[in-house]
């Protein structure tokens, strides 16, 4: 007997209010917002220019002149953390967008059209067989190390994960009576896909997206650390750490601050995602 399926998310228009009712999720939301604001407003906030050298002021500890100290070329670490945030967040965000574009398409197709389910699912399985960093490394090695290619590589890495989530939700939604009602009315399939399926996949997708955002930031840092990611002359938190690592002893702040920024960002994204998951899609807790 087909199991009785429950409707996935009950829509809650006042999501923000609901998030605000959970302290950890709210904290996550606030921190993420602050970090995004700081990055966006970097040119206004930053006391220096991001690549303004002052070799003679190199490796100065945090102080009044330089909130977070200076790096090995005498650049202001605070400024660079802000500017790096722009790239790191942009990369993370672009990965989410790119991965979603592929993942949603694949997931919808596999979930909605039985015919494509088996082939697409097998493809997803095969893609998931590659550990994320490994696949990303190989793809970056193949495409060449540039920010755009890192985004493409990570997007390809995370797309199957999203596709799985979307497929799973689509499989459930496809069978729901409101989809059937639409078919009974003769609503064209593309409209059904968008209006009924996609719209209800948005919740689990949003939850996943926050986690992928977080993961992408970590992965980018990992790739940069390994020296196979974004070119080091583009400041990202990952590249800052990989450079700062050499001064772990003399000037630990060069690595601490971008590292702290990563941890803070990733942690708050996770808190936010966790909160969203609780509100939007409790069933998802056990999915990938």
């Amino acid at each position: 007997m087909a199991a009785v399926t429950t409707a996935p998310a009950r829509a809650e228009p006042n999501l923000l209010i609901r998030i605000a009712s959970r302290p950890t999720a709210l904290a996550g939301l606030i921190v993420v917002t602050v970090i995004i604001l700081l990055s966006v407003l970097a040119p206004l906030i930053a006391p220096y220019a991001p690549s303004q050298l002052a070799v003679r002021d190199r490796l100065q500890g945090p102080g009044m002149a330089h909130l977070m100290g200076t790096d090995e070329l005498g650049r202001d670490v605070f400024t660079r953390v802000l500017y790096s945030g722009r790239t790191s967040l942009t990369v993370g965000f672009a990965v989410v967008v790119f991965a979603s574009a592929i993942g949603v398409t694949l997931g919808l197709v596999a979930g909605f059209f039985r015919r494509f389910d088996a082939p697409v699912s097998r493809l997803i399985d095969a893609m998931m067989a590659f550990p994320d960093i490994l696949l990303a490394i190989a793809l970056v090695a193949a495409l060449g190390p540039s920010a755009a290619n890192v985004v493409i590589a990570l997007g390809i890495v995370y797309a199957p994960r999203l596709a799985r989530v979307v497929r799973a939700s689509t499989l459930v939604i496809r069978e729901l009576p409101y989809v059937e009602a639409a078919r009974a009315l003769g609503v064209p399939t593309p409209v059904i896909l968008v209006r009924h399926v996609l719209r209800n996949v948005v919740s689990p997708l949003l939850v996943q997206a926050t986690f992928i955002f977080a993961n992408a930031i970590l992965a980018e840092a990992g790739l940069s650390f390994l020296g196979v990611g974004i070119s080091p002359d583009i400041p990202t938190w990952g590249t800052m750490i990989s450079v700062g690592r050499q001064f772990l002893d003399q000037a630990p702040w060069i690595m601490w601050f971008p590292g702290g920024a990563i941890i803070l960002t990733v942690l708050s994204l996770q808190l936010l995602g966790d909160g969203l998951r609780d509100f939007l899609d409790p069933r998802l807790a056990k999915d990938v």
Binding site: T24, R122, L123, D125, A126, M127, M128, A129, F130, P131, D132, I133, L134, L135, I137, A138, L139, A141, A142, L143, G144, A214, L218, A221, G222, F225, L226, G227, V228, G238, I241, R245, L248, M255, G259, I262, I263, L264, V266, L267, Q270, L271, D274, A285, K286, V288
Partner: protein, 313 residues
């Protein structure tokens, strides 16, 4: 049972075939001429042309694919450009540290995560749960190389309990080699434990709300028995899945951790292969690692058959 095993086996074969195809495609999209890469900067145009001929790079793509696929079926993954040995051999030389690293890391992760996950689900919303959830999330937010560096700084450099890097010299005893794995395994284990903790908690929460748990309680048994015998055993099924997923996570982690700790494992081989443009090694490593992942998940599927009498694929 046999039938479902066979079904899974066929599924696995299909996935493996796709894996092989994906790797082929990745290597094909790599810009630049593999022959030119292999021969290095001093090569003449004639050298490159003759190597292309020898490698079959002039054949049509489907023929190339067949040749390549045939090679893989025979266990021939090609020759490392840099190391000048067969890729399989290179991987085999590097297998031991990676194998033990992942096994230890998984053991550590499971030893930490399972009890913590079970208890925080059981005491949902308690201070313990909140602390554990926060900690797990925090652990999952730390870049693994960062944690490795800090451990190295404390335990190897300052306390001197471990070597900072390497895997022992020639003839190093097994114990000595394992000693080198302690820090990397702890690093990797702690970070992976975050994921397993969260999944364990979620799986336990799920089953703790199940009707049969209420039935078990209504029988008048101790909570311990309810949780372990009735709830946990059911939660084990999704947890097994995570452990399978963790296998991939561990290998990703191993790539970074091995690099930090200078372990001569498959992970660091992959990184050096990328830096050295040793495409056959990259390709071979991708295949082997993905193959292992598929295999691990196949084994886990088989475990389902043992644990869960309902599973009939």
């Amino acid at each position: 049972m046999l039938r479902s095993a066979l079904n899974r086996l066929i599924g696995m074969a299909i996935v493996m075939f796709l894996v092989v195809t994906i790797v082929f495609v990745i290597v094909r999209v790599t810009p630049g001429d593999p022959a030119a890469v292999m021969l290095g900067p001093d090569a003449t145009a004639e050298d490159i042309a003759s190597l292309r001929e020898r490698l079959g790079l002039n054949a049509p793509i489907p023929v190339q694919f067949l040749t390549y696929f045939g090679g893989i079926l025979r266990g021939d993954f090609g020759q490392s450009i840099f190391l000048n040995i067969p890729v399989t051999h290179a991987l085999w030389l590097r297998a031991e540290p990676t194998f033990f690293l992942t096994v230890f890391a998984l053991a550590i992760a499971a030893a930490v995560a399972l009890p913590v996950g079970v208890l925080s689900a059981y005491w949902r919303g308690s201070a313990f749960d909140q602390a554990a959830t926060m900690l797990a999330m925090f652990a999952a937010s730390i870049p693994s190389f960062w944690l490795g560096l800090i451990f190295m700084q404390i335990f190897a450099v300052q306390l001197g309990w471990f070597d900072t890097s390497g895997y022992g010299g020639p003839g190093a005893s097994f114990a000595e080699r394992m000693h080198h794995l302690v820090l990397p395994a702890v690093t990797l284990g702690l970070i992976s434990s975050a994921l397993i903790t969260r999944f364990t908690r979620a799986a336990m929460l799920d089953v703790l709300n199940d009707d049969y748990v209420r039935t078990a309680r209504s029988k008048g048994m101790s909570e311990w028995r309810v949780v372990v015998r009735h709830a946990f055993k059911n939660a084990l099924i999704p947890i097994l899945t995570v452990i399978g997923l963790t296998a991939a996570l561990l290998i990703s982690g191993a790539i970074v951790t091995e690099t930090v700790f200078g372990l001569p494992g498959v992970g660091s081989l992959i990184v050096s292969a990328v830096l050295r443009r040793d495409y056959p090694v990259i390709q071979g490593a991708l295949l082997v690692v993905a193959g292992l992942y598929v295999l691990v998940n196949f084994v886990i599927d088989m475990l389902y058959l043992l644990v869960d009498p309902r599973v009939r694929y």
